[in-house]
């Protein structure tokens, strides 16, 4: 009994912390199942399983260059993760982040190639233009949902396919480099490129932007009225409505903001890593954002960690495919499995019940003892 009292006196052993621990446990288990599954897939498919697994698990930290490129991959998906986080928090399944990322890169390329500005300002203008254009486009599915009651999800997916073609049209008709073999834009002027933080690492200023955005978005979502209203609408739209929140303004705003972030991420990606626009299809960064938003439980605070995990998995898979010829697309199977286990209410639910029951018993006995 003494032991019990000590445990109870430990700060914060309440239902809330139990829930928190439980969701941590569930995330941890889901991720472990994902990793275990990747190892099983490799064992079945790979010609050289030991080497493949080695590269998958420790490849990204084996040398400095790999470690750098881990962060190169981390930057864009952190931002798209935040973008999807904001949209999903309002319970709006807008999947335009994928299209916005691509079109943001198009807009940034257009501005970079058609405007002459000094080095410090040029990329900023490119990124802001991309964010503005994509933010406005993100309003299309949002307004369709709010004004007409159409599915914002289907609308946003149609928009993804439409902006892909529109972007390719813009690049190949106005900015195409005739000397390049495939459809690609002319080379960006030096002034438009993003500053590299560490020489020859490909880590650009976007890293700082991403970190700042994590803090800003977290602050916005949890410490401002707008953020609170977005979350309120997401949790209970009717309640939000009765307390006087303008549902339309909040949902549309959340999707404009999310799309703008994704557009800016695409702009920074192309200006930071490439010398010209060379995408020919959608890039998948928006879908990664969806995975991350779910993995982080729609909380911006956990996005960086989730993104690091996904980037690590990707980089590991990339290295593996380079060294042993394994394909990298199996990462999406792993992503799907992790998502399912993470979202499954039933997964571990019996364990959770048992723990909750035990806790309430503990509290009861403690109260009795204190009373008696």
């Amino acid at each position: 009994m003494d032991k019990l009292k000590v445990r109870l006196r430990r700060p914060g052993m309440t239902q809330e912390t139990l829930e928190k621990r439980f969701s941590m446990l569930r995330t941890g288990l889901a991720v472990s199942i994902g990793i275990a599954l990747s190892i099983i897939i490799i064992l079945i498919v790979s010609d050289d399983p030991a080497l493949s697994i080695k590269y998958l698990l420790i490849g990204p930290v084996m040398n400095l260059n790999n470690f750098y490129s881990l962060f190169t991959m981390w930057i864009p998906i952190v931002i798209t993760g935040l973008a999807v986080c904001i949209m999903f928090s309002a319970n709006q399944f807008n999947l335009f982040a994928e299209g916005a990322f691509f079109f943001g890169a198009v807009v940034a390329s257009g501005v970079a190639l058609s405007v002459n500005l000094p080095a410090g300002i040029h990329p900023v203008v490119c990124v802001l233009a991309a964010a503005a254009v994509c933010g406005l486009m993100g309003a299309i599915p949002a307004l369709m949902r709010h004004k007409l009651g159409a599915s914002e999800m289907v609308a946003s997916l149609m928009l993804n396919y439409a902006v892909l073609q529109l972007g390719l049209f813009i690049i190949s008709y106005f900015f195409r480099d005739a000397n390049a073999g495939s459809v690609a834009s002319r080379k960006y002027p030096e002034s438009a490129k993003l500053l590299e933080l560490i020489p020859r690492s490909n880590i650009h200023v976007g890293l700082i932007v991403a970190v700042v955005l994590v803090v800003l978005v977290y602050f916005f979502m949890y410490h401002t009225r707008w953020g609170y209203e977005i979350r309120l609408v997401g949790q209970n739209e009717k309640f939000a409505k009765y307390t006087g929140v303008s549902i339309g303004a909040v949902t549309v705003f959340s999707q404009v903001l999310g799309s703008a972030l994704a557009g800016g991420a695409g702009a920074m990606e192309t200006l930071g890593l490439y010398s010209r626009f060379s995408y020919t299809s959608l890039t998948g960064h928006g879908w990664d954002g969806v995975t991350l938003a779910i993995l982080a439980g729609r909380n911006p605070k956990y996005i960086p960690l989730a993104a690091l995990f996904l980037a690590y998995l990707r980089k590991g898979a990339d290295l593996m495919s380079m060294k042993t010829g394994m394909q990298t697309d199996f990462v999406s199977i792993i992503q799907a499995v992790i998502l399912v286990f993470l979202l499954a209410e039933q997964f571990l639910s019996r364990y959770r019940q048992k723990k909750t029951y035990a806790l309430s018993k503990q509290l009861e006995t403690a109260r009795e003892e204190m009373g008696g």
């Binding site: 399944f93 007409l148 779910i294 199996f330 999406s332 199977i333 039933q346």
Partner: protein, 310 residues
């Protein structure tokens, strides 16, 4: 302009409309039956890819187009069943579960293709079969109509037959009544002894089979190979078509033909001197506009009804 009109009012254009309607129609029917059972099923795109892949692989290894078709349809049904398991037994939100299945559809198939053939992204190294095209006796001899209606892939005919089958299933059978009742009011259905989980699970499995047929059509009819993102959003367009159909199989057919026309227009206009990217935008932009128009009229109707009641 004359050139465009000539292209659009040709028999080959009408023929390609039916050809392009097929996958959209099957996806739309899958969406209709899921929605009738009260489930937001968004897995058509992923299921179509999985089935398209399976059809190619099975037909290549067995040498039989029909076994490939069967393989694709069965895996489609299994995917539908898996979705129902994830949604109801593991209790995952249906949209998020759908996102997971679509992830498997897009990435998983490309990975498995590589694991099997060692080639990235396209299955041309597999000698897969194609489902037969059929010339319909008598009809093929009718002048214009024959050229439009005859000579299609067998799955195209199957898809239009399926409209009737699904209509019959939903509105004329006991199972259909159960499916509609669990969709409209699961508690009431439960109280009269309907097994809600089983019924919804059956509906999703049927939806999977339908998407599966659409997928097999893409890889063994529309083209003769499997490639990354072969379906190019047709599953999603199918969902949009279903949303405009009033959740009725015949409505779904009308809406799908409409999108088939948009798709065929894009294909046809590519042959004349227009920027191909802008032409390829047509189906998606048309879908967006059609969604708005439909939603607008539905809203007006609702308002009118509300006014009448008041």
């Amino acid at each position: 302009m004359n050139e465009v009109l000539e292209l659009v009012f040709s028999t080959s254009f009408a023929f390609s409309v039916l050809r392009l309607t097929t996958p959209i129609l099957l996806a739309a029917l899958a969406s209709v039956i899921s929605e009738r059972a009260g489930i937001g099923n968004i897995t058509m795109e992923g299921t179509m890819l999985i089935s398209a892949f399976m059809g190619v692989v099975v037909s290549a290894y067995t040498g039989s187009a029909w076994l490939g078709f069967l393989g694709g349809v069965v895996i489609g049904g299994l995917t539908g069943w898996l979705l129902s398991y994830i949604i109801f037994k593991l209790q995952v939100n249906d949209i998020l579960a759908g996102i997971a299945i679509n992830l498997i559809g897009s990435g998983g198939t490309v990975f498995l293709l590589f694991a099997l053939t060692g080639v990235r992204g396209i299955s041309t190294s597999l000698s897969s079969k194609v489902m037969p095209s059929i010339d319909i006796p008598f009809i093929r001899d009718i002048p214009i109509l024959g050229e439009i209606l005859s000579g299609h892939n067998i799955i195209t005919y199957l898809s239009f037959v399926t409209v009737i089958v699904i209509w019959f299933l939903l509105f004329k059978t006991a199972l259909g009544l159960r499916i509609r009742s669990v969709g409209e009011n699961p508690d009431a259905a439960k109280s009269v002894g309907v097994n809600v989980y089983k019924t919804k699970s059956i509906a999703l499995t049927i939806a999977g089979v339908l998407s599966g047929m659409g997928g097999v059509y893409m890889s063994m009819g529309y083209v003769s190979w499997f490639a990354k993102d072969l379906t190019a959003g047709r599953g999603w367009i199918g969902i949009a078509a279903a949303a405009m159909s009033g959740m009725h199989p015949v409505g779904a057919m009308v809406a799908s033909v409409f999108f088939g026309i948009a798709d065929a227009a894009a294909n046809t206009l590519q042959t004349i001197n227009l920027p191909s990217q802008l032409v390829l935008m047509i189906p998606y932009v048309v879908t967006l506009i059609a969604m708005c128009v439909y939603a607008y009229f539905r809203l007006q109707r609702k308002k009118k009804l509300a006014r009448k009641k008041a």
